[in-house]
Amino acid sequence: MNSTAADTDIAVPRGQTEGSYLTDGYSVRSWLLSTDHKRIAMLYLASITFFFFIGGAAAALVRLNLIVPEGLLGSAEAYNRLFTMHGVIMVWFFLVPAVPVTLGNFMIPLMLGARDLAFPRLNLLSWYLFMAGGVVTLWALFSGGLDTGWTFYTPLSTAYAKGHVVMAVVGIFISGFSSIATGLNFIVTIHQLRAPGLTWYRLPVFIWSMYSLSVLLVLATPVLAITLVLLAFERLFHIGIFDPAIGGDPLLFQHLFWFYSHPAVYMMILPGFGVVSEIIPAFARKSLFGYKFVVWASVSIAVISFFVWGHHMYVAGTSLYSALLFSILSYLVAVPSAIKVFNWLGTLHKGYISFDAPMLYALGFVGLFTIGGLTGLWVAALAADVHLTQTYFVVAHFHYIMVGAMVSAFFGGLHYWWPKITGRMYPEMWARIAALIMFIGFNLTFFPQFILGYLGMPRRYFSYPPEFQVLNVLSSAGATILAAAYLLPLGYLVWSLLYGDKAPANPWRATGLEWKTPSPPPTVNFLVTPVVTTGPYEYPPPERTSG
């Protein structure tokens, strides 16, 4: 993106003009009470890393249990609590917030040429809400846990489940308001704080996907919040809104829950689209192919995602006609998703591709997302879903999207912007190794689960018939590799903070306003407000060494 300094720029009103946001105060207070979006992003990064490893540890124990057919842990009760813990932590405290609150929080103002988000104090409040919700939920999970699964289906959760259902629900309720605050802040910021000349069609796709994601956050999360309140009331007072024994309707809960939780899947994957759309042009040295199509694909995925929730309930007793309608609508999501994949491939076509670590993660994303998306069509089909629902096929499908694709994108973005965020280069060779191991480990973990599900192994059981053992052992072996791949970056990224090479302002020779300011950026982001005159991906024609 070409930019020049605005000649009528106002003087820097706050903060220091030398050094960076990292050197602007060293006390604990200067971090915990900072309203700087970059510092808050770092607070969030530490928090979600913590939650990621807790949720990961629960997953490791789940896989450990499934090594032998009769269950290694020996307790169905413990197993149920473990997968609930895994789901609750991963969905609400890692996957939904991960990219927006860290990379989004850090990059949105930089990419817009702004000095901060529109509401910096609200941003800080959202971190405190997130932590408060996280602490309450962790407390519930570690003081005995609960065995409802992350979906909290009624009347299981309200009448029969043992454990701290209400406390977990309160934690999720609180963290929901953190999501709402973040989404609201992003939407208003993107509308109001774009640099002069930065028109909507000059916005990077990352910004567009953050915008689409934020719309989902602010519109879907309040519905989850009120649903959880109703659930907690029903459990506390034994009066039924969802309990059929006293005039309630359990399907009502499923409708409301999936009205949030299906868009939530897109909250997880939309940021991935954005990250990958930044990385691929930068490492193919080409303009993003079909920019407007990619942009509107994000927006239409966000819109359609509100109308597909019923596909979680094909076998729950909904009418055939509503199921048919939801099936057709679910197929519709495939259209913008495919548009994106083809546009990324179009960008790669005849590009001058270099396989740096961010690019490896991005390419992994494209592959895993394609597998996850295509298997989504299987379970969107009514007849196939009757066979596949509640089996490991579904587990494998959504893990390909939410873990394979989304976590790859998160790591891709983290490596891509790491030099900007920290001012240090990460060790390239280690990063490439980690990207490769992650891809292999992920596929080894989850591909066998497609086969298991197809053969009929149901999810959420702690034991299984002996003929499924080989595939389960393969899956658990893959999980070990995956765990190593997740621990590696933790090691070398922390190492790079101390010993990494100093990063230049633009190590990837990438376009985008975030690369126009020093690494790490000063507290005020831009000493002079940039003026934008061109589109987001104006890469010069590659300089080839031969013909």
Binding site: L184, T221, I241, G247, L256, V524
Partner: protein, 217 residues
């Protein structure tokens, strides 16, 4: 960039009016999330009524119509007074703004006293709380009646919490106005809180027929 009015503003904005527009946009978006929050509740309410018409009608007949109606009048008047206050501030009459807001606050207080002091106490006394062992409604009306009163207490409780927050904001605005912080050029907080207060009013206008009118006929 516009020259601006020279008023102070936060460092991420071009000028004070840019900041004011952003604040108002933020409040509108927040209210949209509130619509979805109450919307979920009201959806469940109407859905449950559809399947339990007898119990819901019986529940509605137990409510105190005069309190609900009086409270509706109080809230509408309070919103009118607030809007009047904003109009006074626009022409620079901070004193009239303060008078209007104090009256708004008093009407809100009257609402809460009627609602929670009188009506709730009466409901408890007549065994209308849904978990009451000797619940007032019996037979075919019992299950639906209990459901009705779950929604009644949840809806009015949630609305009451919003009123308390709003009253806190009113006190904050009154204090700032007394310190002379507002002028015809700058009264964004007054406008933003006004949007919120009107929304609280609007929620009540949805709850009022659901509680007191539907099924009474």
């Amino acid at each position: 960039m516009t020259a601006g009015s020279g008023l102070p503003h936060e460092f991420q904005y071009a000028d004070a009016s840019h900041q004011a527009n952003t604040a108002i946009a933020g409040m509108w978006l927040f209210l949209a999330t509130e619509v979805l929050l109450f919307g979920g509740l009201i959806l469940c309410w109407i859905y449950s009524r559809h399947w339990n018409p007898v119990g819901f009608d019986a529940g509605a007949r137990q409510t105190a119509l005069w309190i609900g109606t009086l409270n509706t009048a109080l809230l509408i008047t309070s919103s009118f007074l607030y809007a009047l206050g904003v109009a006074f501030m626009r022409v620079g009459n901070a004193r009239a703004l303060i008078h209007c807001l104090v009256l708004t606050l008093m009407l809100a207080l009257a609402f809460l006293v009627l609602k929670f002091g009188l009506e709730y106490r009466d409901d408890f006394a007549r065994h209308l709380f849904p978990t009451a062992t000797r619940f007032a409604l019996t037979g075919a009306e019992a299950a639906g009646g209990r459901l009705f009163f779950i929604f009644y207490f949840l809806g009015t409780g949630l609305h009451g919490i919003h009123m308390l927050v709003g009253m806190g904001l009113l006190v904050w605005i009154i204090r700032r106005a007394r310190r002379g912080e507002f002028s015809p050029q700058y009264y964004t907080p007054v406008e933003v809180v006004g949007l919120y207060w009107s929304f609280v009013d609007l929620v009540w206008l949805t709850l009022y027929p659901l509680i007191y009118l539907v099924g009474r006929g």
